[in-house]
Amino acid sequence: MFAATLIVFRESLEAALVIGIVAAATRPIAGRGWWIALGAGAGVAGAVAVAAVARSISQLAGGSGQELFTAVVLALAVAMLAWHNVWMASHGRQIAAQARDLGKSVARGEVALTAIVTAIALTVLREGSETVLFLVGIASSANSSRAAMVIGSVLGLVAGGAAGTLMYVGLLRVPVHRLFVVTGWLILLLAAGMAGQFARVLIQADLLPALASPLWDTSSWMPDDSVLGTLLRALLGYQAQPTATQVLFYVAALVLISAAMRRAQSRRPAA
């Protein structure tokens, strides 16, 4: 039962943190709760659909279909998070200024919302499809501890949701004029982490070379499966033994997105 809790918690953690951060980042935008729910809902529906055809997907591209599919989903999610951040860089100050005005809602957040809803849906879809496959495995096994595993899975999902809620509540304590700077950084790091994962799956499929593997090894003092390691993995893309290829993609995403944000900020339209 505990094993099931841990599996589902790990799979749901990243998606929950993305939702928590995004919910805080879009705080002043009217009706954003519905949009976030829509993104999460679409992600769950997508996860079930993907799980249903996952076997066929995995057989594509000479057995590397799973990796290619994950890579495409990750790349799209990175693009969406980047888009959101760039948009916020040019409109964020304006939104923050309006939001301070007695919590008045900002109506013109459609662009940021479209990007963010898509990013949520993609993250839930990617992490969720593995959870669905795990649950289907439990359901189809003749295991006597089936009920306990289902309860364990639900607990894992609750724990993941709690982590996301904690992130959201924590961010709510940040004053509005600083909130977008903080969420911007968090989203930037999430995107860089996903870019690193993108490299990892392509290395696994032998579509990218594993340069300097591993570039460093911190597994003795912060293992990937430790509490802090798991959290930093979901939040920053931490890995105890990454290849140089992953680090290159991580840094490239970080540099490119922040450069685009800076550019957008300097071209901020007059309020």
Binding site: G63, E67, L133, A210, S213
Partner: protein, 104 residues
């Protein structure tokens, strides 16, 4: 540039065929559960799941995770590895599905 070339050379010869190792998964046990691979070269792992349930081949040490569908095979490229022991598990059945890759 020199550093880049040195890094590239670590990824092993491109033309030589990668060594292949097949691991069977039967009743949530890996067989063999201990596999020896050459260090310093990329290796093609073939995981043959003979069970009726899906499994996730998972290893933090190898930096890999992949779903293996019921009664089917999955390919995972690993390495090039430094000499050492690299543990892996079947994440969905961690109590029994355990193994180790030994690079030497």
């Amino acid at each position: 540039m020199k550093v880049l070339l040195a890094l590239l050379s670590l990824s092993g010869p491109v033309l030589a065929a990668d060594p292949e190792v097949t691991i069977q998964l039967h009743e949530h046990h890996f067989a063999p559960s201990e596999i020896k691979v050459p260090a310093g070269t990329k290796v093609k792992l073939i995981i043959d799941n003979q069970d009726a349930t899906p499994e996730e081949f998972d290893s933090f040490a190898l930096n890999r995770e992949k779903i293996v569908f019921p009664n089917s095979k999955a390919i995972v490229f690993i390495g090039p590895l430094k000499p050492g022991r690299y543990e892996f598990v079947g994440e969905f059945n961690q109590k029994t599905a355990k193994g180790v890759v030994i690079a030497e």
